[in-house]
Symmetry: C2
Subunit: 331 residues, 2 copies
Amino acid sequence: MKANLEDIALAAGVSKMTVSRVLRGGTGFSTQTRDKVMKFAQTMGYVPNRLAAAFGADQSSTLVGMCVPRLTSGLFSHVLDGVDRALSRLGYQLMIGANNHSAEEEEAWVRQVIAWRPAGVILSGRTHTPGTVDLLREATGPVVEIWDLTTSPIDISVGFSHFDCGAEMAQFLLRRGRRRAGYVGALARADVMGAARLEGFEATLARAGHPLVACEVLHDMPGFYAGYYGLETLLSRQPRLDVVYFHNDEMAIGGLAYAQSRGLRVPEDLGIAGWGGMEAASILQRRLTTTVVPTTAIGKAAAEALVARLKGEAGQEVTVLPTRLEPGETG
Amino acid sequence: MKANLEDIALAAGVSKMTVSRVLRGGTGFSTQTRDKVMKFAQTMGYVPNRLAAAFGADQSSTLVGMCVPRLTSGLFSHVLDGVDRALSRLGYQLMIGANNHSAEEEEAWVRQVIAWRPAGVILSGRTHTPGTVDLLREATGPVVEIWDLTTSPIDISVGFSHFDCGAEMAQFLLRRGRRRAGYVGALARADVMGAARLEGFEATLARAGHPLVACEVLHDMPGFYAGYYGLETLLSRQPRLDVVYFHNDEMAIGGLAYAQSRGLRVPEDLGIAGWGGMEAASILQRRLTTTVVPTTAIGKAAAEALVARLKGEAGQEVTVLPTRLEPGETG
DNA sequence: TTTTCTTACGTTACCGGTAAACCTGACGCA
DNA sequence: TGCGTCAGGTTTACCGGTAACGTAAGAAAA
C-alpha cells in the first residue's frame, strides 16, 4: 500500500540500490538518474522505513532513549527540552520514560528500550540496579548519566554535585548570620539526590559549629502542599528555627505560604531557601533564595556528548556544569 | 555479540520458531521445552530485538509518537505523564517531539516519526498543514488529536473547547459585576487555542453589552514575565479596566505581581483571571481565579482511545472532558 | 483397523532496507 | 593495441524476527 524503494526503482527503471543511494544523498549516480528518482519518490509519496533501515544495517538506529524521574517535574521538563532540541536538530528521535524515582522501574524501562536497539541512552541520576548496569554495558551505544555527577559513570556523565549545592547554601546562610537551620524534604528513601544536598548542607553546618536543628523528610511528592505541611510539622516540633532549607523551590514556595499564613516575617523571623531555580520563584514579591540549576544546558550537553561519542569523537567522560546560588530576598 | 533467537535455539536444541513461541508466551510446546528455552534465554542474557520483530511482522510496532507544542509547558507535561503512564502499562513506548507552536515543524516531526511506522500518533491541537494530514491518512495507525476539540478530527479527538473556556470565564466575571475587561495574551499568530479562548471571551462580553475594552497579545512565550509586562503595557494604554483575563495562569501570576507592584488591590481595584490550573496558582495568598483543565485525564484518555482502536475496539470519535472554573479570590 | 484429530514441533519465505562485491562501457594513456 | 581507471550502475547476501504452512507421532473416534 505504501511505496517502498522497490516500487520507486521499478518506476524509475533503476535498481533498488540506486534509489537508496540517491535518497540518502550518496554518490555513484548521474544527475539525470537522481532527478528521475527524486521525482518518483516525490510523486509516489515515499516515506522511508527506518525500522527496516536500522534493522538491516545492524548499526544502531537514530533512536535515543531517555529516562527521567517524573515527567511532571518543572526542572526535568527543561532538561528534556534541551535534549530534544539538540537531538532533533541532528536527526535523532527521543524515546522517553519515567521511573518514578525507582531504580526497579528504571531497570524495567531500560529492558524495554534497549530492545529497540537505540543509538544511545540517557539516564537521570547515578543510582541504578546491577541489572540496569549489566544491560547497558552489553548494549553497545553510549550511556549518559545526567543530573548528578558520578565519580565512576557507566560511560558519560553530565551534571553537577548535589552535595556541593547543599554545602554552598549552608555557607551562604551561615554568612547571613543564620544559626538554627532546619530542613524540609520529600520522597524519603526514593530520592538520592535530595539526600545528597541534605548531606552537604548538614555537613557544612556541623563543621561550622551550628549543626542542623531539625529535619523533616516527607514521603510525599515534592510539591507546594508538601512544603506547606512539611514546614508546619517541622515548626510544631521545633519552633526555634531561623532558617529552613527546602528540597526544592516548589516546596519552598509552599513553605513561604505557610510562614506568611502564620504571620511570620520572611526573612526577618524565618529565612527560606529553596533549590532548583524555578521560573515562578523569581517573580514572587520577594525573590526566593535558591540555587539555579542549568537544566537546559545539561540536556543540551548530554545530547551533544552522546552524539559526539556516536560519531567517534572522543569527548569528556565527566562534564560539570555550574550551578548558581541566587541570593534572593528570603534567605 | 548479543544472543539472538537462533543462538538460544541452538543451545536448547530446538528451532528458532519454538524459541520465539515460548518467549512470546504462545502455545504449541511442552513444559519441558519451555523451561529449557527459558533457562537458556535467561543465562544467555537474551534481549529481544523489537526492531526486527516490528519490521518482520509488518504489523506496526509498539511505538507511539506524540507531539506537543512545548516540552516545558507545565500543563503539557501532565498530559505527557498521563499518556506515558497509560501506554507504558500496556507495553507501548512513547516517542516525543515538540513543534514550538508551528504547523510546519509539526509536519517535519510527523514525517520523521511515521518513518518508524508507529502504532499510532498523538498530536496537540487541531491545526495541521495539509501535508501533515496526508501523511497521517496514509499511515495506517490511529491518530489522536488532543487538547482542542475538533469538529472533524482526522481520526480520534480528546479534549475540550477553548472557546467555551473563554465564554464561561466571561460569564463568571460579568456575574461578579465586572464591566470593563481586558485581555493579555501571548504567542500572537502561533497559538490558535489561546485565540479561541479570546474569541469565546470576547463574544460573550459583546453579547452581554460590555465588550472587551483592551487587548494586548504579545509575541513572547507565555510566561511570568510576559504576564508582568503585558499587563503593564495594557494598563498604560487603557488604565480604566476592572478585570484582566490572561492567556494562562503563569501570565496571570505575572500580572498579579505587576498589579501588586503598582499598589493595585486585587480583586477590589483590578480582577485577575487565568487559565489552565497550574498547581502554583492554588497556593498564592489569594487563590487565582482560573479554569482548571483535565491535563492528566486527557493524556490517559488519549492513550486509551488509541490502544482501544489498535485492538479493534470501536471507541468514540470525540471525547469531551470537562474543564472546571475555579472561582478563586482574584477575579 | 482405519481415519481423524491434536500436540508439538520444524521449514520456508518474507518484511525493506544496506554493505559489499561485482559488473560494464567509455575514456585516457603508454 | 592493450591496460588501467573511473563513473555509474547492478547483484547478492544478509539483518532477526514472525506468519503460514508442513509434518510426525500418538490419542481418540469411527
